[in-house]
């Protein structure tokens, strides 16, 4: 969820009134945003860098506000104020216009070479814009917020904004070998080739994150004007030549992308938010984008989409009973212009700022928000169903109760562990263990899913060596093993594991526990092996030679019981004899 920082005084000035913190918090809650933190530059620096650095910093109050991830239209002061004012019924939502210029439109020509790296581009022009320091910062901040969220850290879309009066169209978007791109990038005093830039920015705390998007490609995207001046090398950096300043009058916006839909949304959002500062308010100048196939498309699209909604359906979904015109009023407050059409039907106009609305259900939600979630009458569904437990969970819980009654204490360990926890430490080669491997673990603790509960219990004992002896622990939980029969290639196994840790191994105790559990499960001791259970001597590297047996139930091996090998004991930082029992309970269902 993106968080935006807004100067409180600027916000209240734009809203035309001020609020107490509680009042504003309440308004946010209703509207579906969240006042996350109240701070100031000074406090932020104080917290991060200490008293000395914060000395000269501004003490103006900053509101940090959490915005839902799909509301790109609220990511800047302009959009937030517009949304809140319309919600409060204080302002009407403006209509946005796309107009052709007096002369020929600007044209962006996409060359076929971009296909392999970043095939799409869109563009627009904001004419006669007037920035002041605050709106200029807001314009830059919004681009940054869009880059981080909707643009997925510039991988899907990258925005470039330029002073149109410093360059001459038409513009060419192409992909060139890195060494043939040479220009003076933003905030640098000399020219660099693209390869040099990759080196230069490899240590830049901000830009280095974007380098992998194009680094390994044989060609890099670049936008030039008709004189060969480089405007930008998306998605990394713009040129110094065309950079916008407080004095910029005409802004050329280009968005390059791997996802055309998102590029168009980004362009719409940007121009909707800032066309208010144009000489002709809420009006955007059209640009022509020529595809490699020679097709000409006009941007920005700024389309008002219409959706026809049934009043009954709205009332049913939300659980209210409102008339059509009241619902239209509610929708108007959510920036959706709604008109009642005949009986029981509403036509909703979805503006280009609300790309989050892709289905009628999104409109239902806006009705509910405008109505107030907490004003909806609560009712119980009439759904009448008979409950049942998942049989395996029921059996597990019954056995857990019995284990505790037998004097064992339940541990709760992690399903993920390190490779050595299930192999070396148990004296088994990793390739003999049918374990599921994680491809991107952040630490050793999450390398594999456990194939046994034993290691977790031994780790628990190690962390509790100060407890009086004997220690008797158990866990009934899932382990994961590979299984090619399943669609995902793995399955869970519900295992029961118990360990006894004392000055003597106590094999007879875990053996007795097994007998007791079998008695509870009504499984008889049966050496012939066809119906009941029995123990069959075996050798297992984890256990002490001659002190280990397989548990056979109905002819198949379900588990193992024995005295742990001393090397296993010491590999878990323990020093006393330990016996253990582990078996799969699923066959006993």
């Amino acid at each position: 969820m993106p968080t935006i920082s807004i100067n409180r005084d600027l916000l209240f000035k734009a809203l035309g009134r001020s609020y107490t913190e509680e009042q504003f918090d309440e308004l946010c809650f209703k509207f579906g945003i969240e006042l996350d933190e109240v701070t100031s530059d000074k406090l932020i620096i104080l917290k991060e860098q200490g008293t000395e650095r914060s000395a000269g910093a501004s003490e103006e109050i900053i509101y940090k506000i959490d915005i839902p991830a799909n509301r790109y239209d609220l990511l800047c002061l302009e959009g937030l104020v517009q949304g809140l004012q319309v919600f409060l019924g204080e302002k009407q939502f403006p209509a946005f216009k796309v107009v052709p210029p007096v002369t020929v439109p600007q044209r962006l020509i996409i060359k076929p070479s971009t296909a392999s790296i970043r095939p799409h581009a869109v563009a627009a022009v904001l004419r006669n814009i007037h920035f002041d320091q605050n709106t200029f910062s807001s314009f830059i901040d919004l681009q940054d917020k869009l880059h981080q969220n909707l643009c997925r850290k510039r991988s899907l879309v990258a925005i470039g904004t330029h002073d149109l009066d410093t360059v001459h169209g038409p513009f060419f978007y192409e992909a060139l070998p890195p060494d043939s791109i040479k220009f003076k990038p933003l905030s640098q005093s000399k020219e660099f080739t693209a390869s040099q830039l990759m080196d230069l920015y490899s240590t830049d705390s901000h830009l280095r994150h974007y380098l992998p998007i194009i680094r390994d490609s044989s060609v890099y995207p670049v936008i030039k004007d008709s004189n060969g001046v480089v405007l930008s090398m998306p998605p990394i950096i713009n040129g110094e030549h065309s950079k916008i300043t407080l004095d910029t009058k005409n802004v050329f916006i280009e968005c390059t992308a791997t996802d055309l839909t998102k590029a168009s949304i980004v362009l719409d959002t940007l121009v909707c938010m800032f066309s208010r500062y144009c000489g002709d308010q809420f009006t955007v100048e059209i640009c022509e984008v020529e595809t490699p196939e020679g097709k000409i498309n006009n941007y920005p699209i700024l389309k008002n989409r219409h959706e026809k909604i049934s009043v009954d359906k709205i009332n049913t979904m939300v659980g209210i009973n409102e008339k059509a015109d009241e619902i239209a009023n509610l929708l108007t407050r959510m920036c959706l212009t709604a008109t009642v059409e005949g009986t029981g039907s509403i036509s909703v106009e979805i503006p280009p700022t609300r790309h989050d609305i892709i289905h009628a259900c999104d409109v239902y939600e806006d009705v509910a928000i405008a109505f107030g979630y907490n004003n909806i009458t609560k009712t119980l569904p009439k759904t009448n169903t008979i409950a049942s437990q998942f049989p395996l969970n029921k059996l597990s819980d019954q056995l857990r109760d019995q284990l505790a009654q037998a004097g064992f204490t339940e541990a709760l360990t992690f399903s993920l562990c390190s490779k050595e926890d299930i192999s070396e430490k148990l004296r088994k080669p990793l390739n003999s263990v049918p374990a599921v491997h994680v491809s991107n673990p952040k630490t050793l603790e999450f390398q594999v899913a456990r194939t046994t509960l034993l290691s977790g219990l031994l780790k628990t004992i190690a962390a509790n060596r100060k407890m009086p002896l004997p220690m008797k622990l158990f866990e009934v939980s899932d382990v994961v093993v590979k299984d090619s029969q399943r669609d995902v290639g793995a399955r869970n196994c519900r295992n029961l594991c118990a360990v006894y840790y004392n000055k003597s191994p106590g094999f007879e105790l875990v053996h007795g526990l097994l007998d007791r559990l079998m008695q509870l499960l009504e499984v008889p001791l049966d050496q012939s092996g066809s119906k009941g259970y029995f123990l069959k001597p075996c050798e297992d590297a984890t256990f002490f030679p001659g002190r280990c047996a397989q548990i056979i139930f109905a002819g198949t091996v379900v588990g193992i019981v024995g005295v742990l090998h001393p090397d296993v004991v010491t590999s878990f930082d323990l020093n006393l004899p330990c016996s253990a029992l582990e078996f799969n309970i699923e066959p006993f269902l």
Binding site: R152, L380, P381, A387, N393, A404, Q405, F446, G489
Partner: protein, 753 residues
């Protein structure tokens, strides 16, 4: 055990009411220790007698003292050995030792110097070799007389003489511990031993009828019983499970941690570029890395709704890839299972259903005190025709009411697979604010319709984590104390029943500021009373028995307790040199103490001999942090912590020795002012600089008194109260670094003398 001796004591008690063991020993001419043994065995019988342990001190002759009583003082013996014409020292010594074989050269040395200083003898150097001659003709050997008198049990020595004889090792103090007895509540002159417990033999023989049985101590705890335990988190899980079952929800089979991206994300209409699908947030698998057997038709419908829309949706308008959907992962939510269940429900012909699950989910997130890579998700799902958002709100109220939560409110939120979406907040009476407790919503048509569910079916769903309510319930602030192998098994053993609807745990307690204050006062009072008793004991020793007091003060050289150093200096200076201070540094110190901490100016630091001093004070520099500790040796549980408490103790000792007024020797109103200042200071140490500035302001106000006073508490200038000594020293260092007003500059540290 119940000897004739014991009955004799009881009889005496019956006749006389009280008895001292010392007196009985004298009366019956018995060894005192034997009487003490009898008293102790009588005490074991229960409440037959009561006895107070008393210690009294008396002065007795040493071996050397006994010699003096018999043969005369060293000086008298020397005097008597000098012939009328005088003699050399060697000759005199030879003569004395000839008369008295026990007389040593050391004794002779003492004898000569004492005789000289008494003016009994002089040195005559007129005839070359120095000779001793008598200066007086006769002497009175007072030392011998005093010791003879003491030997008979009469103690009339003045303090000076006692000190002198003690120094000469002629007398010594003997402490006698004795008992003062009186009849107890079940007093009787006939003694029968009480039985500890019933035995099989007693039952067999019937002897229990005549026996007396020792009372049980019901204030002690019983023996812990051997038992097994269930894990606290699993107990909370059982409670939630029970609630769902009571509400008619069927448990979903969630025993599949490995899931495909398709079921975990795509089926839920979560686009393939969604941040949650990043490797930063999700554990993907390298083996088995991909899933197969995704239902083909269904997958085509999912692909279409993502890339082109349909079912009334615009879709996301991107190029959906099967490779992305096939990637295996550890499920990030149990909603993946809900999706499988709903798909199966649609395949088998839809019937209304209510499902729930509580099971593990996995997130590749940054770990902290409240986040682990795996946790338990609780999920509830209701699928039926015509369900409304009002229904969801109604069900959530009922669900949380069963957990004992009545106050709810809902905030609009965003979630890729629900629309409308609501975050659930509940009012936390302990934190006095609304806290988020879960998420909820109605599944999107783009998720349900491709599964084949009828168009007018809605599915309500909500989820929360199991760990968070458990942490709140049992008051944990680190999740690792609750789950994982590092959990303390004792915690599992001590954990109470889980009754979520019963507000008893730490979580629901209303905090009351006034109550807090009262509790704080109570704890301060208890501590003070403890110190008071301690000091009263010390006073008694200091004044009546002159028993040695040995104090060990530990302090950190990083935070030298200046006020205590000052008080120690005062103890040395005003306590008639009865205190010897030794300063050490502990081996655990990282670096050597600065010299000014090891050698205190104006203070003789002892070489370590600690024989005759009344108070031995050992000062140890040790890395123990801000709060110094004083240990009173031979007094277990006598540790006193914190600068203010130690200052109080030292002030009381000082007052008991010298009768000066600095703390409790003032009248009580001043005394309580002093306490107030000390408490304020303690508050500062706990809460840092903001409070400290308040303290400075208070001091400034106090010093702003119209009489231009330079002190905080007390009626007179020149009489420094403990508060003045304490605060001026504490502030000394800080004042230099702070910009203090003129007034504060007057408040100069009191430096001992």
């Amino acid at each position: 055990m119940a000897t004739a001796h014991g009955e004799k004591v009881l009889k005496y008690l019956e006749e006389n009411g009280t008895a001292s063991s010392l007196k009985l020993a004298e009366l019956w001419n018995e060894d005192h220790q034997k009487i003490v043994g009898t008293v102790k065995s009588l005490l074991c019988l229960g409440e037959v007698i009561e006895a107070d342990l008393q210690s009294s001190a008396l002065w007795d002759l040493t071996e050397e003292g006994k010699q003096v009583a018999k043969d005369g003082s060293h000086e008298a013996q020397v005097f008597n050995a000098i012939p009328p014409a005088g003699s050399t020292q060697a000759e005199i010594v030879a003569k004395v030792t000839e008369v008295n074989s026990k007389f040593t050269k050391d004794m002779a040395k003492v004898g000569f110097s004492k005789a000289m200083s008494l003016g009994w003898i002089v040195v005559d150097k007129s005839s070359g070799a120095p000779k001793f001659i008598k200066k007086v003709t006769s002497i009175q050997d007072k030392v011998q007389e005093h010791l003879k008198e003491l030997a008979t049990g009469k103690d009339t020595l003045t303090n000076e003489l006692r000190t002198e004889y003690k120094k000469r090792k002629l007398i010594q103090e003997i402490i006698i511990k004795s008992y003062l007895m009186k009849p107890g509540p079940s007093f009787s002159t006939s003694v029968t031993k009480q039985e500890t417990d019933l035995t099989p033999e007693m039952i067999a023989s019937g002897s229990w009828k005549t026996k007396e049985f020792k009372a049980y101590n019901l204030n002690a705890l019983g023996t812990p019983i051997p038992r097994g335990h269930l894990h606290p988190l699993m107990k909370v899980r059982a409670e939630f499970r029970q609630i769902f079952l009571e509400m008619g929800f069927t448990e979903m089979p969630t025993n599949n941690f490995v899931e495909s991206s398709f079921w975990n994300f795509d089926a839920l209409f979560q686009p393939q570029q969604h941040p949650a699908r990043d490797a930063h947030d999700t554990f993907f698998l390298s083996d088995p890395s991909t899933a197969t057997n995704i239902p083909v038709d269904y997958m085509e419908r999912v692909k279409k709704v993502h890339s082109h829309g349909g079912y009334g949706s615009q879709g996301y308008g991107y190029d959906w890839k099967i490779e992305e959907a096939q990637k295996n992962l550890l499920r990030t939510h149990t909603t993946a299972v809900s999706a499988r269940m709903l798909y199966a429900l649609a395949e088998g012909g839809f019937k209304p259903a209510k499902y729930f699950s509580i099971d593990r989910v996995f997130r590749n997130e940054t770990l902290d005190a409240t986040h682990l890579a795996e946790f338990h998700q609780i999920e509830g799902v209701i699928a039926d025709y015509g369900l409304t958002l009002g229904n969801l709100i109604g069900v959530l109220y009922e669900f949380f009411r069963k957990l004992g939560i009545e106050k709810l409110r809902f905030k609009p939120a965003y979630n890729p697979y629900t629309e409308p979406s609501m975050e659930i907040f509940s009012y936390h009476p302990g934190l006095k604010k609304w806290v988020e407790i879960g998420n909820s919503g109605i599944f999107r048509p783009e998720m349900l319709l491709p599964m084949g569910l009828p168009e007018d079916v809605s599915v309500l769903a909500w989820g929360l984590s199991l760990e968070r309510p458990t942490m709140i319930k049992y008051g944990y602030d680190n999740i690792r104390d609750l789950v994982g192998p590092k959990v303390n098994i004792q915690m599992v053993a001590d954990n109470p029943l889980c009754r979520l609807d019963k507000h008893r745990g730490s979580e629901m307690k209303e905090t009351d500021d006034l109550q807090d204050l009262e509790n704080r006062m109570d704890s301060i009072m208890t501590r003070l009373r403890g110190i008071e008793t301690e000091v009263k004991k010390l006073k008694r020793q200091g004044k009546t028995t002159e028993e040695k007091l040995t104090l060990v003060i530990e302090a950190d050289p990083k935070y030298p307790p200046r006020s205590i150093q000052t008080l120690v200096r005062l103890l040395v200076a005003r306590g008639d040199a009865r205190t010897i201070v030794t300063v050490h540094q502990h081996s655990s110190l990282a670096s050597a103490c600065p010299t000014d901490l090891m050698q205190w100016p104006n203070l003789t630091v002892s070489d370590g001999s600690r024989i005759d001093n009344q108070c031995n004070l050992t000062w140890i520099w040790k890395p123990i942090g801000r709060h110094p500790i004083v240990k009173i040796v031979n007094r277990p549980n006598g540790d006193i912590h914190g600068e203010a408490a130690i200052a109080r103790l030292l002030a009381r000792i000082l007052e008991s020795w010298t009768d000066c007024a600095m703390y409790e020797n003032f009248d009580s109103s001043i005394c309580s002012q002093i306490d107030d200042w000390l408490d304020t200071w303690e508050g500062c140490i706990q809460s840092g600089d903001s409070k400290f500035l308040m303290l400075i302001r208070r001091i400034q106000n106090q010093l702003g008194h119209p009489d231009g006073r330079k002190w905080l508490v007390g009626p007179l200038p020149g009489v420094k109260s403990l508060a003045d000594i304490f605060l001026s020293n504490l502030l000394g260092d800080k004042l230099n670094t702070l910009n203090c007003g003129r007034k504060l500059a007057r408040f100069s540290p009191v430096k001992g003398i």
